[in-house]
Symmetry: C2
Subunit: 91 residues, 2 copies
């Protein structure tokens, strides 16, 4: 089943306290080279059938209208992925 | 400033009630072709200097240990991005 991935991040001018907390924790652990952390959302939309241009256009509109809050968030990426959430990064 | 993006999703066998709620809302709006929605997290780590293999290895370890909960989440992607959260998708 094809998957459309929509990625949403807090706007650059917003503080993102959760990201700041993670960055602070990393600094305390000695990871000084990681200057800043920001935390956004990753939506996986699992779709029936083919991903058509019309469907992608619909998803772009849904990403702007429903999956993100335009006041505080930006949609940074919409792309089609073959992977499912079951795929893991091999560490 | 280079950015390392870490993407974390709830494990496939978990219910993800927030994703189910979004999928239900989309169905009520007539978007039947979107079968299922899952919601995960997208971390942007803004790093000083170059992204070395050693730094990437460190981030892989941090992603597994700190940025995700291995009981309920999978790290699905770790990649280097040039974009910042200020970049928007042109709709």
């Amino acid at each position: 089943m094809p998957t459309i991935v929509v990625e949403v991040m807090p706007k650059a001018e917003l503080l993102d306290p959760a990201g700041k907390a993670v960055a602070g924790a990393l600094h305390r652990l000695g990871h000084e080279s990681i200057r800043d952390v920001r935390i956004g959302k990753r939506f996986e939309l699992h779709v029936d059938g083919e991903v058509t241009d019309a469907l992608l256009a619909t998803v772009e509109q849904l990403a702007a209208d429903m999956l993100s809050n335009g006041v505080i968030e930006d949609v940074v990426s919409i792309h089609v992925a073959d992977l499912t959430s079951a795929d893991k990064v091999s560490l």
